[in-house]
Symmetry: C2
Subunit: 403 residues, 2 copies
Amino acid sequence: MARGSGISQDELRRVNLSAVLARVHASGPTSRAALTAELGLNRSTIGDLTAHLETLGLVREVRPTQTRGTGRPSHLVVPRADVTVVAIGLDVDRIVAALVGLGGVVLARRERRHQRGGHDVSAVAVSVLQSIHELLALPVAQRCLGVGVSLPGVVRSDDGLVRFAPNLGWVDEPFADMLQQGLGFPVRAGNDANLGVLAEHLRGAAVGVDDVAYVSGGVGIGGGFIVDGQPLRGSGGYAGEIGHLLVDSHGRPCRCGSTGCWETQVGENHLLEAAGRLPGGGPSAVAEVISAAAADDARAATAVEEVAEWTGVGLRAIVNLFNPKVIVLGGVLAQVWAIRQDVVIRSMSATTLHALLEQVQVVPAGLGEDSPLLGAAELAFERLLADPVGQVARVRSLEVESG
Amino acid sequence: MARGSGISQDELRRVNLSAVLARVHASGPTSRAALTAELGLNRSTIGDLTAHLETLGLVREVRPTQTRGTGRPSHLVVPRADVTVVAIGLDVDRIVAALVGLGGVVLARRERRHQRGGHDVSAVAVSVLQSIHELLALPVAQRCLGVGVSLPGVVRSDDGLVRFAPNLGWVDEPFADMLQQGLGFPVRAGNDANLGVLAEHLRGAAVGVDDVAYVSGGVGIGGGFIVDGQPLRGSGGYAGEIGHLLVDSHGRPCRCGSTGCWETQVGENHLLEAAGRLPGGGPSAVAEVISAAAADDARAATAVEEVAEWTGVGLRAIVNLFNPKVIVLGGVLAQVWAIRQDVVIRSMSATTLHALLEQVQVVPAGLGEDSPLLGAAELAFERLLADPVGQVARVRSLEVESG
C-alpha cells in the first residue's frame, strides 16, 4: 500500500500474505509458531495464510516427524526453491548468471567473459540472453518468474533504462527492454550497489539492521543504502551515487566531467597507478598490490595507505549524512580495509561528531563479490513478494499445483 | 506497525484511524467523500472512523448547510484546533515559542532573546519554560498534548539528549528531560533541519513530494531529508549532517574539528567576512550583504558569487546521493539563491550525471524561517497521529467531550 493510505480488508490479506512469504523467503524454513510470534498475528490467521500460499504453489508445509519436548509440534513452512528467477551480474570484466530459487538458494550458475566486441550493447545483450537460455533449459527452471539485472551505472527504476554507465560506455540504453523482447519475460534492472545493499541486508553482513550503507569499489565506486529498513531509491531510482562526491577540490578529473570525485582517489585504477602498476588490471591486480603492501613493498604500501586515508574521508561523509549502524565494504575498499583499518578509522574520525561515529560498525561484505548478483535476484522476486496472489495469477507459467 | 510485520484486525483499526487523522491534520477540513477517495476505504468505514475520532475529541463533523449540484452533500471533517502542542524554535539569537493546534494552526506566538548569560543551558531552560507557561496560561491551551523543541545541533531521537550543539556550546545536555521535569508534560526535541523538512513536506514548498532535501544555512548548515515519503533519521536520529561534508581538502578549519567542511564555505559568517563585514551579525547582516551585492558593491558581489559557487557544490552532493525531486533552501542559502541562481546552477551542473539533475527543482522554503518551529510542532503531534486512541487514553488532560 502507499504509506499514509488506509488499509481495506482486501488489502489486509495481501499485506499479510506478503509478510509471511517475505519472512520465509528471507529466513528459510520457519515454523508456524515462529511466524505467529514474529508477525504479531494469531495462530489461526497464520495457518490460513500459509495454506493459501501452499495453494499458490509458493511454499510447502511440512509436518515435523519428530516431537521435541511437550506440546503439539508446529508445521514447518518451507519456501519452494523450484519457484525461480534468473539473476544477472553484469560488470566490466564478465557476465555472471544465476538461477535463484525462492528462499535465496543459488541452483545453478554460469560465468562468461565479454565477447571480443567489448561492451557493444547488442553484443552484451546476446551474451546475456545465451546465459539466460542455458539456465532456463535446466529442468529445475520450469517455474521461472523473471529476470533481474545488476549493472554498473545509473539505471532508471521504472523501466530499467541505463541512463549512464561510463565503464561500459553506455548512455540511455534500454537494456532491460532489449532482454525482455528477446525473452517474453519480465526483466528488471538496477544499479549494482543499490542491489548489493539489498542482498547484504537480507542475507549478508547486515541482516536485521535498519540503517545500512554498502560501498563497493571497482573501477568506480558505488553506494547503496537501507534507511529505516527500506532501500533508498530517490525520485528516479538514481540515489546513492557516492563515487562522485567531491572530496578534493584540487583533485584529478573524473570521467563524470567533474574533478576530485571520491572514486578518482579510491578507485581500482588509482590504486594501481599509485602503486606503479598499469591501470585496467582489475581485482586480481588489486589483490597483488594488497599482497605487495603487506609484504613491505614500499610503493604499494604508500599507495594503499593513501587510498585508506581517502576511504575514511568518504566514509565520514556517509556517517554524517546517513548515520548508519553498519557500513558494508566491497571490492577494493574491503581489501584496503582488511590491511589498513587503522588508517581508515583515523581518517573517518577527523571530526568531533562523535555521536555518529560511536554507533557505526564497518564490516566487509558478507556475500563477497556476489552481493549485486544476489540483489538482482531480489529485484526479480520483488513483485511476487509484494503481491503473491496477483503475481501468481499473472505468471501463466507458474502452474498451480495441488498439495 | 513495524514494516514487514503482519497486521492484525486491532492494528488495522489503529492504522486507519491514524490515516484519517493524519490526513485532516495535513489538509485541514476535508469532506468524507474526499477521504473515501483518497484513503481507498469505503464510505461506511470512513464514516465509522470519523465518528470514532469525533468521540475522541479530535475532530468535529460539520454537516454542510448548502448543497451544490445534485446528490447528498458530504460531511466535512474538521481537525479540532483546540487540541494543541507547544513548539519551541531555539536558535543562537532567540527563542520562539508557538501554541499550535491540530491542523497546524498557529494560535499564539512569543519571541524572546537569550538572557545575558548567553547559552548557559539552565538559563536557556528557564527562558523556554517561561515562554511555555505564558502560552499554557492562554484559555485556548487547555488541551495541550506536549512540547516539541527544535535545536541547532545533533540530537538523540530516543530521549532528546543534545549530543553536540557547537553554536550553543552544548555537549551531551539532557535538555528535553530538563524541560519535562519542569512541566510534567512529554517533551521531545530534534535537530532544526530534520524538523524543518517535516514542515516543508507537510505545509511548505514540498507538499506531496516523496523525495525532498531541505538545507538551511545560518552560522552552520543543517540538512533534513524526506526519502520515499518518510523522514530520514538514521540509527540514532542523527542523519543529515550535511554541513560537515568535506568539500575542500585545502579548506579552512571547522568548529567540528575537521577542515574544509561545506559550512566553512557557505555559512553566514564566511559570507560576512568575505564581504568585509564582521562575523556574528546574523540574518540581518546577511540581508545587508545581499542588498549590497545587488546594488553593485563589488566586494559583496564577489563574496555572494563565491558562496553561490560552493552552494552548488554541496547541492550536487545532495543530488548525487539522494536524487531528490525538490531541494528546499532556507536561511543564507535561500538568500544567495535568490540573486545568484545562475551561479548555483552552473556549479551544480559540473558533472555529467544528467539523469539526476534533470529531475530536481530548487526552491526557497515555503515557510520562511518558521520551518523548524512548525516541524517541532509536528514532532509533538507525532504520537497522537500514530495512535489516536492510545494517546487520548494516555493524556489525562485531554478530556473526552461529547459532540
